[in-house]
Symmetry: D3
């Protein structure tokens, strides 16, 4: 049984992320969605980002959501895994991922990074643009799950 | 008659932007240069950026400059347009624009995004580099119009 | 009224091409689909490629299909147009198109090239892969119109 | 147990390919190296390419080498697999693979494509360049296994 | 004194190539333009390509034009050089050059590859497009030197 | 004798940077490592970054390290040089460098920008990722020199 760790900021989790997780859950024994604490400002704090992702995957027995701080690879080892899963949407993703995979491979030769591409209908979704559209009251229900739509609305109403 | 909206931060407007607008004005009935309010720090505030662009296109009857805040697509609709115009210079532009066009198409299926490339002699000009060169007293008169040169000089003299 | 010329090899025309043409027909006065004679081997000859495209757009009064040999820009002028339309799907498309637009702009300064991106569900379709799948009897009905499916079947049955 | 199919032309198999296969064999239950018949001219014919790859992986119990003609996905199904493995080295790889994965996903929704990156010391190796260097008597022993070095020498001596 | 070798097919030599050579001649002690024999079909044969390049640089004492067959690096060594010069215009150039430089560095650790970018007004020129335009009688005098214009005209008149 | 200026933020200097400098020192008469004052937050201040780089190249008679503030090209002129050296690792590097080289060429036509690629084993190293790994106590001794390892440790212990 292969256990994979799918790390990200998930600020918030989008249908593109969900698609990658569902595909991975269909292939592997367990998918750990690893929500990274972030030193740059996020719209949602770590607890909120973990909570939203947990709601999204509540009915997926093979998916577990955890927050983490520190080095990704230490977290992966602590999970008794040696496989990192990453989604690729665009060339710029690819270059960054390639550098990250190279650096991790040097630090932890036993670790592997596997890549999946989301379905083409999700390739244009980015969490940054979701936040931008929601900020101005645009409809983001095609890009994120209903619980995330609600949290975005609360966030931006509170901010007004 | 096709009315196109050309959005951007224009901090400040460069000869590359001007080239795209002139080409568009030669093709379409009206070009609305839409200067976006920005939540990240800009060198010039929205009023200054709108004013500079208006000076640049003062003698172009088919070009109108407006500031806007909020969702681009709401602004486009308020202008009775359904065509967004974007300039493409580099691969990284292309990827970002592709995501943006995809997201807008999902939110507003009746909207279209058209792309133009600036003349090759302008492909290397970026507003970021113009600000950088001007900050240290470099000569930017090849990259921006005379009124923008002047505003950059005032800005950086004031800051000293 | 703006008349645009949409050139390509169309070996065969795909639903990605159709999407670009339909979007363009919604914006512009006339779209001329310009099927290029090719010096490299094509699966379908020029007459077949023109005929397939004409069937696809038979009910589109604003779309006209023509074959051409020689310089694209001479054909565009002969059509009393000065706008070339191109579809962009990927970074490699972008670079090639950028070179082509630059060269054409130098030869014919009055010509403009406009770019559209196809809907994301068509971004992965390439005529090359359609031919490849059809060659081995795969189902290409999601990627090309029914008349093209039929022509592909005839071509590969004949070849067996 | 996950069985993955790693397709390619392997004309000839390089140390970059070997690295991907070894990594995959460390993760998955079985790796089927699928050597594609090719309609374009190859240096080695299908039998030679299969034979070289079999020699390379002779001591790898989890690796099997097979030739195939026709649609990749039919071959994958015939192998009772639903996972295609691909190596990514460069941006141009990425774009092609992205299109291929999109097309396959539409034809066979149950199929998944996973990507691995080779170790950075192999990223610059391409079979095309290996053939080019060998053709002129250059030393390719850093790029391919000894049995492949020998076959390349025989091929080019024969051709002289 | 640094002697650099600038290799290519030069089918034919363009003003973009000339720009790279002139810049290099301004920096280095000697520039050897190395015209490669090619196994794919070229429009001009090796003698013609060497002759055209020699005419172009006839008045440049620091530039020498030589044809070569075989491994580039053997030629570079035979010239008592250890520096290869390459021009970069586009991302796809970059990736190919990166692979080539990596492979050469493994074969010949003492060799270096230096890159220059041509002036932006030449970035869109490719020899392939020059041949294409000339084939149909288009004006290529902005892209190649007068002697090359003439040779292109003779070639295509002869072919008619 | 060619004197080249190799500018960067060097926050901190990595083995990738060192590789570029060593290659350049093997080719050119003098390499000036130009450490840029930065308006964005750096981990190390300008004095620290200059000091670390000086330690790294202490035994390299052809390498000199200097800090600079203001326009790069003014610094290059003040050094009596007219050649800027840049390292290229990835496509995104390439695009940025291309714009920068274009802008500099317009401002200072006599200046040239030369590019080198680091050895492939260093292509994945970025100063950003080095800081990230060190921040969480990861081992960065494969990516930076011993003196830089020590400074990173002091910095992050101080910060705790």
């Amino acid at each position: 049984m292969i256990k994979v760790v799918y790390p990200g900021t998930f600020d918030p989790i989008t249908k593109g992320h969900e698609d990658v997780v569902h595909r991975a859950a269909g292939l592997f024994g367990e998918v750990v969605v690893a929500v990274a604490a972030s030193r740059v400002n996020t719209l949602f704090n770590l607890e909120e980002r973990v909570a939203m992702a947990r709601e999204v995957f509540a009915n997926q027995p093979k998916v577990r959501v955890e927050g983490f701080d520190g080095l990704l690879m230490s977290f992966v080892q602590a999970q008794n895994s040696r496989v990192v899963l990453r989604g690729l949407r665009a060339v710029s993703d690819f270059e960054y991922e390639f550098q990250l995979a190279g650096m991790n491979r040097n630090l932890y030769p036993e670790m592997e990074t596997l890549f999946l591409t989301p379905a083409e209908k999700y390739t244009f979704i980015s969490a940054t643009m979701v936040r931008e559209v929601a900020r101005f009251g645009g409809d983001v229900s095609k890009f994120v799950s209903p619980n995330v739509v609600e949290k975005l609305q609360q966030k931006f109403i509170k901010k007004l």
